[in-house]
Amino acid sequence: MKFKDLIKLTQGKYLLLGNEAIARGALEGGLGYASAYPGTPSSDILESLIAVRDLVGIKASWAVNEKVAFESAYAAAISGVKSLVAMKHVGLNVAADPFMTSAYTGVEEGFVIVTADDPSMWSSQNEQDNRWYGVHAYMPVFEPSSPSEAKDITKYALEFSSRHKHPVILRTTTRISHTRGPVSLGPIPKPVTTGEFRKEAKYVHIPANARKNKKAMLERWRRISEEANTHPFNRVEGSGDVLIIASGIAYAYVKEAAEHLGLSGKVRIVKLGMTYPIPARIIKDEASKATRILVVEELDPVVEKEVKALLQDEGIRVKVHGKDFVGYEFELTLSRVINALAKFMGVETGGNVSEPVKSVQLPPRPPVLCPGCPYRPLFFEIRKILNQEKIPYIAAGDIGCYSLGFNPPYRLQDIIIEMGGSIGTGNGFGEVTNSLVIAIIGDSTFFHAGIPPLINAVWKKIPMIVIVLDNEITAMTGHQPSPATRRSMSYIPIENVVKGLGISFVKVIDPFSTKEVRNTFMEALKTVKGEGGPAVIIARRRCALEVTREIRRSGIEVPLYVVDEDKCIACRICYDWFACPAIFPLKDGKAVIDPELCVGCGACEQVCPVKAIRPAKPYDKEKIESFWR
């Protein structure tokens, strides 16, 4: 059953993704308002809420970036509507400005800030540990240990936040957010979605008011720290003089590792569901009975440092270990926790890892642009131009599917740091280097953080070709609408925004036409070198995943393309340079198309120099094309 189908149910156990569990918990906690900007691994939270918003009667929608999402949800919470904002860990950097001050003002009703961290960087540029944001901002941090607990904690966090009139962080990680597990459902109360903003001086953060707010916040913080000791998701289990403190998901690993090593019940475990502030009284009591302590947590030693500081203050002399056994980087795994615990306890791991046998050299398989991706013909042609013209260039990249253009054969992402960074760093490169700056940015990223740096480039007349890859959707994170989505609330054509900034070179092209790509790029090059300032090319064609799904759903057969073996001259262009994942070489170097992967986009037809690629059978090209445009 889908999340939506469960909405009328008030009991029973169902398989939910951690993110769906968070959405469900928020609804069961009386959520009225939610906002977010998509980002893996957080996106499914708001997606789930949007799927049921009309059925439950809540307000939930995507915002243009995390800062706006945060501000919207915060405004709802200070107007008396229980609210939630969700983002990936780096999204909180974008929202950090309102975030920091929101702790000073506090809120009227529950406000849960979900940060979905990504240890091991499965889909992110860094693995920052956002529990530090809690330390930084005087914000309590809740950390579930399973999808099931994610539901319970979210519900509890909303109530907790309402009671203390203070915003809270719910920190989840990839392995909670994207793990599916059994979750027990409860009733969903009728949500309150409108409120009133009571005008008070505390919301006006001029220095005089801010100073008062700081004192009030510290008073709230004292009460919150006290309550950490009676928080239902912090608990002690087992016995013995060795103490293990496990934070969030680390508890799940510790529990299984202890079972695996035959230590169940022989060690005491403090399970923390609220990891900041730590429950001082519980830790103090347990530590004074312990001979040794091991803190197990993912990424940084946040809890470990807190525990060490507390024991120092209390004069309790017990050696506290943590990162020295568990390690700093990447996500926890069962093997890693078994090894750490075994070493700490001085027992054997009982390893049963199979011995390496006859090995075979395996090829790497990095993620690639999908078959039918509108960016492929564009990257292919620009790579060709740059190779032919031998122009010194910097391809300033950005966050999105096109980040994959870093890989060969395209190699068109020389720097990727953050959202909007393509045009942002393009400003500096344009000023200090002699290279042609090509900034490559997607539609959703353009609206998120690309506009201010583009204004800066116009203002300072920075020479730069800006290519906006407009597939009309936030594709990488699972197809959430962007302001460039023609089928969403209200459509904002990117060219209108760009023209409004006074840029004269603005061209909208079809990236599937390599000829159009070539001509427009050469023209833009001339403009940038001549008049200077930015030239903007908007490459518009819909995401292939969306298109293929829609074609299949409407009951139309997706066309397939085939290679005429007699005509093929084994030139390698289609699979090595155009690099469509659906095209493979045969032993003799001739190409073949895999029907499991081909989506019938037909873009390969034009790159074959001998016209060996054709549709497997005739189809209604106009009809199919209407899905793509």
């Binding site: 499965w122 793990t179 395996l362 690639v368 994170t477 994942p581």
Partner: protein, 210 residues
């Protein structure tokens, strides 16, 4: 006990769907399950692993290296890549298909060499021409359904769920003609397993669920 199933393949082959089919069937039978998925960037045509854990003792989402009881892979290279997850007493069920990564001038291993590695890493290897069958029957992307049929024979007899629960899940897959093809693909996989998988293998898997 816990039954650890490693699912792997190439992003886009329907590995998440396969995981959910297994997970939902198990939960319908009241067997606890955790499925750790791969989303976002790594999903786009890249190497994908999904951890499926079934049984009363499940707490952690990820399977430890050398602790996998079953490997179900939709592609040979990706089966070999994650074979270090397998224990010596494991079984591997692999779609007999190689997909070349979309990387220029890449050298592919020989199919037979990959198969040999999989044989050595597991107690028993079952090769299934799932993609080939699916393509012949008219749903080129239905290889995962053939594999689900195959796995269902084993998990069904091992007591993780019953065939009817799995069939109910399959009936929700696809529309029109494709929905019919999927039912057929499931049956083909199931029947193939019923001919190939021996009782000792079933007992091995069953023991993990007790």
């Amino acid at each position: 006990m816990v039954l650890n199933i490693v699912l792997s393949g190439v992003g886009g082959q329907g590995i998440l769907t396969l995981a959910q089919l297994i997970g939902r069937s198990a939960l319908a039978h009241d067997v606890p399950v955790l499925i750790a998925e791969t989303h976002g960037l790594s999903q786009r045509g890249g190497s994908v692993i999904v951890h499926v854990r079934l049984g009363r003792g499940v707490e952690a989402p990820l399977i430890g290296e050398g602790m996998g009881d079953m490997l179900v892979s939709l592609e040979l290279v990706e089966a070999a890549r994650y074979s270090p997850y397998l224990s010596k007493e494991s079984i591997a069920i692999v779609n007999d298909k190689l997909i070349r990564p979309s990387v220029p001038n890449i050298k592919m291993p020989e199919r037979d060499d990959v198969v040999e590695v999989l044989r050595q890493r597991s107690r028993e290897l079952f090769l299934v021409k799932a993609s080939e069958i699916a393509n012949e029957k008219g749903n080129p992307i239905g290889g995962n359904v053939v594999m689900f049929g195959y796995v269902t024979y084993i998990l069904g007899r091992a007591g993780a769920y019953v065939v009817e629960e799995a069939e109910a899940e399959v009936s929700g897959l696809g529309r029109g003609k494709i929905a019919e093809v999927n039912k057929e693909l499931f049956k083909i996989g199931y029947e193939k397993a019923s001919r190939e998988v021996s009782d000792p293998v079933i007992s091995l898997i069953k023991a993990k669920l007790e």
